[in-house]
């Protein structure tokens, strides 16, 4: 991005503008574009989630606003903006008002390093992965602040649960990331992607068993960090009413949900980057623009598949209890990731350039599991089929 800013300052329409101001303008422009982009992503994700969830539950879901209800999120957003922004009388007003923006900031900042294509990244930081782990921690401050400032016991419980949960799950998530970094030798997102190939067997997911285990652990921990089912304890609606967001209304409530749905996309994008080969596609055309668009589409499709998986998990699993959440983290995920990391180290020493046969074996295993999964789906489809009968008299 700096090159772009520099070139604009030297030859583009920003010629003559002071360097700092020019930088500021370019940064503001990209921030504006990204902000709108993530609003779109969060909105569409919310619609998609409601539709997927509805179909899993034999319902239809929102289908009135726009074709198939695709702009339902816009209607909901407008409604929420119009609503009164209520601050409870006994609440800590400044904190209460600031909390959603803090959460929003933590999640928005991650988009700076998400690589949508070969050159399509706002800033390819050399500490990219570390940066994401760091800034997402801001979300927990926002939620904890919301829980505290609401002056509501349910909200407080939700905030504390969130803090405990996110801090605990940073450890397995971080170590799973380290496993990947071990094989790439770099924290930069683009380098991680370039270390993989476009073919599925070149992905880190199938590179060796340790990376495969790390990918699962990362996904579980990321779900927990994003407060998704089965780890949605901070807002557990059947226990804590709405958890940390109980007292929020209108736009501020909307911002929290924006964070939730946006985070879902961040999880998908991170997983895609680290384990699914990111934007890698075979070189199809010479045209850089078309190639770039295809890369973007590939990245988007992969990350949205993971978003879909997260929705699907939400439609399947119940919520864990708070002590089980901690048990899962400290007794299962943390020891397994450490053992996994050591295993990965040994593997790396033995086969510094990877083992082609292992890649294909892992890929074959993945295909076999998928086929078995589809056979189970067919089995369930055949076994029980609830029938719709509209007219009982007919």
């Amino acid at each position: 991005m700096q090159q772009l800013a520099d070139s604009l300052l030297q030859t583009g329409f920003l010629q003559g503008v002071p360097t700092e101001a020019g930088y500021a303008l370019v940064i503001a422009f990209f921030a504006f574009v990204l902000l709108n982009f993530i609003m779109l992503i969060a909105g569409v994700t919310s619609w998609l989630e409601r539709r997927v969830w509805a179909r899993i539950q034999s319902r239809v879901g929102p289908n009135r606003v726009g074709p198939q209800g695709v702009i339902q999120w816009l209607a909901d957003g407008i409604k929420n903006i119009m609503k009164e922004d209520i601050v409870p009388a006994e609440a800590d007003r400044p904190l209460f008002k600031a909390a959603p923006y803090l959460a929003m900031m933590g999640f928005f900042a991650t988009f700076a390093v998400i690589p949508f294509g070969d050159g399509l990244v706002v800033a390819d930081l050399n500490v990219g992965v570390l940066y994401i782990t760091a800034v997402t921690a801001l979300v927990v401050v926002g939620i904890l602040m919301a829980g505290w400032a609401s002056n509501n016991k349910w909200a407080l419980l939700g905030g504390i649960r969130s803090a405990a949960q996110i801090i605990s799950y940073e450890i397995p998530a971080g170590i799973a990331v380290i496993t990947v970094v071990l094989f790439t030798g770099s924290l930069s997102m683009q380098t991680i992607i370039r270390a993989q190939g476009w073919a599925p067997w070149d992905w880190f997911l199938f590179a060796n068993p340790f990376l495969c285990i790390a990918s699962f652990i990362f996904f579980v921990s990321a779900l927990a960090e994003g407060n998704r089912t089965p780890f949605d304890l901070p807002e557990a609606e059947s226990e804590l009413v709405a958890g940390a967001f109980t007292e929020y209304s209108g736009l501020r409530n909307l911002l929290f949900f924006l964070v939730e749905w946006g985070n879902l996309y961040v999880i998908g994008a991170l997983y895609t980057t680290m384990f699914l080969g990111g934007w890698q596609i075979p070189p199809i055309t010479e045209q850089p623009v078309i190639q770039g668009v295809l890369q973007f589409a590939t990245f988007f499709a992969k990350s949205y598949f993971l978003v879909f998986v997260a929705m699907w998990i939400r439609g399947t699993l119940p919520r864990v209890r708070v002590d089980q959440l901690m048990t899962l983290c400290w007794k299962y995920l943390v020891p397994i990731t450490f053992a996994n990391l050591i295993g990965a180290m040994i593997w790396f020493v033995l086969f510094p350039n990877g083992l082609a046969i292992m890649r294909f074996a892992m890929f074959a295993l993945g295909v076999a599991v998928t086929i078995y999964f589809f056979s189970r789906i067919l089995f369930h489809l055949r076994r029980a089929r609830p029938r719709l009968r509209l007219n009982p008299i007919s």
Partner: protein
């Protein structure tokens, strides 16, 4: 060993559950969009015995007050008096307070002609309690007097047929077919 069993069990059951939910993704949804996304009006899909809003066919009401007596919440109010000269019942008032009515169907059971009956109509929302009171008698009218033999009046006969059919299928207990 319990440690690894737990992990195995967790993965297996989640795998199975995910397969079931995925199979639901390709099944057709069960819900129906109310009110405009099915081919026929909702009322037509309801069974014959459906207990919707009460209706009264005053032409075949005998003024016997059986429904008023049967109603457990007194939502039916009937005023009928006997005309001294002609010896016939005059209905002065027949009100049903639909805000009170609990759609139990006890009133339509004792009705001798099937005059008071449930319709498949159920959309009864209104803005005031006052407008929920249905006043069937606009001006005092004579009550129906059952005739010996089949009904001949062309205006009343179809109503009576409907009423008796209603009684037959809906409100006559002990009738087994």
């Amino acid at each position: 060993m319990g440690y690894f069993n737990n992990i195995r069990e967790t993965i297996r059951t989640i795998f199975e559950g995910m397969a079931i939910t995925a199979s639901h993704l390709v099944r057709e949804p069960y819900t129906v969009q109310y009110p405009d996304r099915i081919d026929l009006p909702i009322q037509d899909t309801l069974p014959f015995r459906y207990r919707g809003l009460l209706d009264v066919d005053l032409e075949i009401c005998t003024g016997c007050l059986a429904c008023e007596r049967a109603c457990p919440i007194d939502c039916i109010v009937i005023e009928a008096e006997k005309n001294k000269q002609t010896k016939e019942m005059i209905l002065r008032r027949f009100d049903i307070d639909l805000a009170k009515c609990m759609y139990c169907g006890l009133c339509s059971e004792p009705c001798p002609t099937g005059s008071i009956h449930h319709t498949p109509e159920f959309e009864g929302a209104d803005y005031s309690l006052e407008s929920m009171v249905r006043r069937f008698v606009k001006a005092p009218i004579p009550a129906y007097k059952p005739t010996k033999g089949p009904e001949t009046d062309p205006e009343i006969a179809p109503l009576l047929t409907r009423g008796l059919r209603y009684l037959d299928e809906f409100a006559s207990p002990g009738d087994s077919k």
